[in-house]
Symmetry: C2
Subunit: 336 residues, 2 copies
């Protein structure tokens, strides 16, 4: 069997998306949708693994994430956006996959291991959390995803998926699923406004795609620069200076940025002036996104309708996949 | 919310059912179906947790188990027989429940612990196997089962189910599921024909409901009695003598059995004569079952149709349950 390349990607709907998401994955999706069949999953079931006590939070963010997608240029005619919890076939496939993976193997997953340590779960880790890589394998394979955009730190997800794919195909003697290939993001990771390596809602250091021009200005003004650059005339450092990191990414005028860097290093360029430039750059970038977002936000029903259409299309594919799964597993007693 | 009592029971379709099943659970179901709404699940997904490499075996046994049910008098007008793998809602609910149970808790389950030890799995236990009690909780609660017939050794299943029920209801602030009560089997456990405590297909010591009269005769003739009872005139032991254990259960003439026991103890009653009586008793019991079984076996399509009708009825209930689950979890974006 030959597989066309199919992209599976998505986000946990735990908050609005921010510039870090844009640089790390969203920008890439706008290109991918031109070249491949692309599924974008709003991963509400996965978000519940560590938010199961606050499902209302997940619920509210479904629409926000969808608005962000549409605002940045994800085109529902090219990309299929769907809601994970509405595809029961993912749960079915997850349950079958659980027979192909040991508890020892799940505990060895470096990504999960790190997260368990960070959250201090220990043996009190829930079964749902330990197993989310299995659920991810089901997310990917239910649409026969073959390309999965990930960060370097998420490569274990692809490894786990392919172990399951190989075990399943081998056991049931059929090439039901393709192995998945990672598309590793080449983008630099965007630092938080506080200079921390990771931009994240929970670290309270994010600029959201839906932030107003004023909020962007306020956040940039707080941005971490060079703590030793006290007076305008002092020489300043570029390394670790978040403002320059952002200019490198968002300012199209590379020569101007280069000149600013030299000026800053010599001394005589104040942080405020520099930040004003970044505010302009970011707001120029974000303004059309905001306009599109506000437009879509005026008709939330239409947005939900887009999600429902994408979900229906995914349901159809998922049903076909599970029919094949049932067939090779001799579980096809009758079509439902 | 008030719940009517609903019985959930079932079997793994790993082989035809035998006299041990009859005594331990099947006989009870014929009574239960007169008093309660009863669901009988053919647990193919659960059977896969330790047979995932041989799904064809499960497949073949679905029909055999259904024939056994119908043959002993399970009435599809009173009991709803369904196939587990055709209810995707069970997998969905399982995935949600996995967030409410820790790996440490799953490892403490005494039934699973014993099985893991017996099978020598250790840390190489599959995730699917360790979690089957969670899947059982989903089996029970998807139909809002409140009564579950179990052996004493399976009480941990009910405990695990009720922990999940309480955690779910509490977290989402709604009485979605009733707690389950165990109906503990009062029946003595039927020994295997070799005298081992448990009759089981894998121990090769079972008399199946579908055995022919000749097979029954052959198996009874091999039956373990009193190894020291070498000559007819010797006194024999009743304790541990499988033939008497079976007569106690299946021979309606209690006085005659009592007389035989006394005669055997005194000496002068040979094993062959005793076994001939048991052969008669068992074949008298099994003959109408065989006749009904053969009748149903002539039309396997009609039997599958019964399973499909029961499954469709269960699907409807399962969908309603999951709609309620989605509603309290704020996941009811739209009805599917």
């Amino acid at each position: 069997m030959k597989f066309d390349e199919i992209v599976l990607t998505g986000d946990r709907p735990t908050g609005p998306l921010h510039l870090g998401h844009y640089v790390g994955s969203l920008a890439n999706r706008i290109e991918l949708q031109e070249r491949y069949k692309q599924y974008i999953m709003i991963a509400d079931v996965q978000a519940l693994t560590d938010n199961y006590e606050h499902p209302e939070k997940i619920r509210q963010n479904i629409l926000q994430v969808a608005l962000d997608y549409l605002a940045i240029g994800i085109d529902p005619a090219k990309s299929t956006i769907f809601i994970q919890s509405m595809i029961p076939e993912i749960a079915e496939l997850t349950v079958f996959y659980l027979n192909f993976v040991t508890i020892a193997r799940l505990k060895r997953n470096p990504t999960v291991k790190t997260e368990i340590d960070q959250k201090g779960y220990g043996e009190q880790v829930t079964a749902g959390f330990l197993m989310y890589p299995v659920s991810q394998a089901a997310d990917i394979t239910i649409v026969k995803g073959s390309l999965v955009p990930v960060g370097e730190d998420q490569l274990p997800v692809i490894e786990q998926t392919n172990e399951l794919v190989r075990a399943f195909n081998r056991t049931y003697g059929a090439e039901v699923f393709p192995e998945a290939k990672a598309i590793i993001s080449q983008a630099p990771r965007l630092a938080g406004i506080d200079g921390k390596a990771k931009m994240s809602k929970s670290l309270n250091n994010a600029i959201f795609l839906c932030d107003s021009a004023d909020e962007v200005a306020r956040k940039v003004m707080q941005m971490y620069t060079d703590p030793d650059h006290l007076r305008v005339e002092d020489p300043g450092k570029i390394e670790g200076n978040v403002v320059f990191a952002y200019l490198d990414i968002f300012d199209a005028d590379k020569d101007a940025v280069q000149a600013l860097k030299e000026h800053y290093r010599r001394g005589g360029l104040g942080d405020v002036k520099l930040k004003r430039r970044l505010i302009d750059v970011l707001n120029t970038f974000l303004e059309p996104i905001r306009v599109r977002r506000n437009l879509f936000a005026q008709d939330p029903h239409a947005v939900m309708e887009i999600l429902m259409r994408g979900t229906a299309a995914t349901q159809e594919v998922a049903r076909a996949t599970m029919q094949q799964v049932r067939s090779v597993m001799h579980l096809d007693y009758s079509s439902r």
